[in-house]
């Protein structure tokens, strides 16, 4: 692993730990969890960040984290109580740490050193009146120990200019050389310039193993060095007060093994498939006893490890490659399917359908890998709600529902900005100040609810508040003032609400620094649209507002239903297809596009007309009845071609204004089929109709 990979790993790991810290703090503060239940995790997070930072020489992070860790340690040992002041300090420290870590990846971020120092002062005030000296060593401090160092020098050591004397000399400055034995291993063909020496050294020293290792840094590649742990460390290991550590980390933390030795052993462990402990013993790095002590320790903590920590980090690229391959498999399968159906051989068809079903399971499994729970995004919003509520002096209760609802990972990432903006809006303008709420007869505490659920092939995310609601009059007025609409325009409630998405619109008297960095709701809408989603607003004056975002489950592969319209092949998402019926012109009622479906009125859309394809129908037409959300519609098409699995190939960005088509796919024949986005399509058709009506 090269340096930059290692640094990225550090960054990701630290950011993850900082998030853990934050959510733990939030839960402690809100009373959801006790200090006892979370303090270990918070402490460990700080501790691990400090250790890793030390490896890279990020001294400023180490120094800061050290103080944080010390304070947390005192909370852990019950010397300090986690009161409001301390929690706020922890939050502030976590923020500062996050900035420091971020700054490593983005040097444009400015570090507020003064703020950092103020925090350090405050932290140190919690510690002893005589504060500890900041320690940068990555291993615990030890008292003097008798180290055994065994060096089998490589033959070229003299020629390379690496004289053992310099190491001996240096060692003598680190402690007391109790014993030095030089053992030559001469051969019959003695060459005076070749080194045949082995050194056994006993050194009494208080330095860490790493420091000793560093002494031999330059001869590590040519010579075999073994630094053995004195007995005392095994005792320390037993006392080690850490939970949830892997064997290697335990040993490193106890000072029994250095990071480098661990890395070498890990390499052995992976390439030769021997157990890590075994590898470490083999390398002569630790004694067998020490390993068993550590293993026992590890076993003791294994069962305490909560189930949801058993995650794997996987490179997104690898996953995409895998999904692509599966996509090809799926297309290949589709071709096979059509060929086989021509054969009309039952046995082969049956066998193939078993294969197909297995393929589907693999496909679903792989796609499932890309899905993450939206709960992650919601949790990040907790912090914002907390901070903003404090700042605005509003009492706001955040309720989260459906956190386990899964979305494609890329969508979750793109959602975080719009969600944050809407939430800020609700906090800022939605929920009224306490006094006003009481005056209105509402409870002083405002409710903000984030929810997510699956619905008919879509994901619906809602942000609701019980605040002031949207004032239609004010919005309309503002839009007229800004020239967005003309004064005589007649608009439905939905349309008026939608005006807030127009660029340059803002009903707030003052654009606070909270409600976005100068971006407005128009960016929110654009982001949602880029995800091929839709956003709706429901609101009642003085009661509250709900933003409802509907997103397609944009999977890389969908189950589709293939139809043709004129010369075009189109694919409808199968989960929205309810039924197909033959179309007769007589079905039309009153000359408008409605038909009577078993007593129910079903609006229909002629895709040929909507997409302005050739006007001459070639034969029978069909209606595919689709359902999306709570709405239904019929789509008039030419022929029906049955089910298929389609790998979604997004259309080039230049087509982003196209409404009703959500992507393309390559059919078994090599032709390109257009994937329809049903909700968008219906909206498009509706808008068109409205326009024609107005004209």
């Amino acid at each position: 692993m090269d340096m930059s990979e290692a640094k990225s790993l550090f960054f990701e790991e630290s950011m993850g730990l900082l998030e853990t810290m934050e959510s733990c703090l939030l839960e402690i503060e809100s009373g959801e969890a006790s200090v006892e239940s979370h303090i270990d995790a918070i402490f460990r997070a700080a501790h691990t960040i400090k250790g890793s930072a030390g490896l890279f020489g990020y001294d400023h992070i180490v120094a800061f984290t050290h103080s944080v860790e010390s304070v947390l340690d005192k909370v852990r040992s019950r010397e300090l109580a986690m009161d409001e002041a301390l929690i706020n300090l922890c939050f502030a420290s976590q923020d500062h740490l996050t900035t420091m870590v971020r700054q490593l990846q983005d040097s444009s971020i400015e570090l507020d050193f003064h703020a950092g120092e103020v925090l350090l002062e405050e932290l140190n005030r919690y510690l002893d009146p005589a504060p500890e000296v900041t320690e940068v060593a990555s291993a615990p401090v030890q008292s003097s120990e008798n180290w055994q160092i065994d060096i089998q020098y490589g033959p070229d050591v003299f020629r390379d200019g690496m004289d053992p004397l310099s190491q001996l000399g240096f060692l003598s400055t680190l402690g007391e050389l109790q014993q030095v034995r030089v053992v030559p291993h001469f051969k019959d063909d003695f060459d005076p310039e070749t080194c045949y020496l082995q050194l056994f050294i006993e050194l009494n020293s208080a330095v860490s193993k790493k420091e000793l290792e560093d002494v031999f840094e330059f001869i590590q590649d040519s010579s075999k060095i073994q630094i053995t742990v004195p007995v005392k460390i095994s005792q320390q290991l037993e006392q080690q007060d850490v939970v949830d550590e892997k064997l290697g980390t335990l040993l490193v933390q106890a000072g029994a093994v250095t990071e480098r030795e661990l890395a070498q052993a890990l390499h052995l462990h992976k390439t030769q498939e021997i157990a890590l402990g075994e590898a470490l013993v083999q390398q002569g790095v630790v004694s067998k006893d020490l390993v068993s002590t550590a293993l026992d320790k590890q076993k003791a903590t294994e069962h305490k490890r909560p189930a949801d920590f058993q995650f794997l980090k996987v490179e997104a690229k690898k996953l995409d490659l895998l999904i692509n391959l599966i996509g090809e498999l799926v297309t290949s399968g589709a071709e096979m399917d059509s060929l086989l159906s021509q054969l009309e051989d039952d046995k082969i068809s049956e066998s193939f359908s078993i294969l197909t079903s297995l393929l589907e399971q693999i496909r679903d499994g792989a796609l499932g890998l890309r899905m993450v729970q939206i709960g992650e995004s919601f949790s990040r919003l907790r912090r914002i709600v907390r901070d903003v509520s404090k700042e605005l002096d509003k009492d706001i209760n955040l309720v989260i529902d459906g956190a386990e609802t899964e979305l494609d990972k890329t969508m979750v990432e793109k959602l975080s900005d719009p969600l944050m903006h809407i939430v800020r809006n609700a906090l800022d303008h939605g929920i009224e100040p306490k006094e006003l709420r009481l005056y209105k007869g509402k409870p002083a505490q405002g409710q903000l609810k984030l929810s997510a659920r699956h619905e008919a092939g879509s994901v619906v995310i809602e942000i609701s508040d019980d605040g002031a609601g949207l004032n239609q009059q004010k919005i309309r007025q503002k839009a007229i003032e800004k020239g967005i609409i003309s004064a005589d325009r007649d608009l439905s409630e939905q349309d008026i609400f939608k005006l807030i998405f127009e660029p340059g619109f803002s009903t707030a008297a003052a654009v606070t620094n909270l409600s976005g960095r100068g971006v407005g709701m128009d960016v929110v809408r654009r982001n949602i649209e880029e995800l091929r989603g839709q956003i709706q607003i429901f609101s009642t004056l003085d009661q509250g507002t709900t933003f409802s975002i509907r997103l397609p489950l944009t999977l890389a592969i969908i189950d589709g239903f293939l139809v043709s319209v004129a010369n075009s092949k189109m694919v409808l998402p199968l989960n929205m297809v309810q039924e197909c019926i033959e179309y007769h012109p007589s079905l039309q009622t009153h000359g408008r596009n409605y038909l009577d479906l078993r007593g129910e009125v079903l609006p229909f859309i002629r895709l040929r007309d909507l997409f302005k394809l050739s006007a001459v129908p070639c034969g029978r037409e069909n209606i595919v009845v689709v359902q999306y959300g709570s709405d239904r519609a019929g789509l008039v098409v030419d022929s029906l071609h049955g089910e298929l699995q389609a790998v979604i190939k997004p259309l080039n960005s230049m087509f982003k204004s196209l409404r009703g088509i959500g992507g393309s796919t390559i059919l078994g024949s090599g032709d390109i089929g257009l994937i329809l986005d049903i909700p968008q399509l219906v909206q498009f058709a509706t808008n068109l109709e409205m326009q024609t009506c107005q004209q």
Binding site: S568, M654, F655, L658, S664, G670, D671, I672
Partner: protein, 178 residues
């Protein structure tokens, strides 16, 4: 310098030379739109293919012919003639699609451009390139890198990133769809 008209290479010859040629900034692929010669730097050109099986996209303005399947990739196809305010390309035997790779935001996007026929890859040294004439240029100045005079012909050298600008084309489409 070779005559532009006489040395028309076959598509496969051109594709080969595209692969082997080091990305020399002074090499251009020349092609014909109606009776005018154009050139584009080969650094943008990936390959040449025959015009075949382009799936149309509904409601698009004329210059968007549609999309095609290039070994599993869905590639938009643009009619350059229409882009340059000429009549639409009539698809004939020699009609080709030049597959180009254009940087867009922080990615490389693959696009196809329909041309009447492709000529050859040739070296046009910088000093042979003159600034675009301000008169008589029916094509928007921002598309033009310059003009080279080769034998008796003017070859209009194009800026690939402008001619196939995703943003510009998207906004044209946007207006048309409104």
């Amino acid at each position: 310098m070779s005559t532009v008209t006489n040395r028309s290479q076959s598509n496969s010859q051109i594709n080969d030379s595209l692969k082997h040629e080091e990305l020399h900034p002074e090499h251009y692929l020349t092609f014909l739109l109606r009776d005018e010669y154009f050139g584009i730097s080969i650094s943008s050109v990936k390959e040449i293919i025959e015009y075949d099986n382009v799936t149309s996209i509904p409601l698009m303005p004329d210059f968007v012919k549609g999309v095609l399947n290039l070994r599993g990739e869905v590639v938009p196809v643009i009619d350059l003639s229409i882009r340059f305010n000429k009549p639409a390309t009539e698809v004939q035997k020699r009609t080709c699609i030049i597959i180009m790779e254009i940087p867009y935001e922080d990615q490389i996007v693959t696009l196809g451009a329909v041309v009447d026929s492709v000529c050859e890859v040739m070296e046009i040294p910088e000093k042979s390139i003159e600034a675009a004439p301000t008169f008589g240029a029916r094509i928007r100045a921002q598309f033009i890198l310059g003009v080279a005079h080769i034998e008796e012909h003017f070859v209009i050298l194009l800026r690939g990133d402008r001619v196939l600008s995703i943003d510009e084309m998207a906004s044209i489409i946007d207006k048309v769809l409104e």
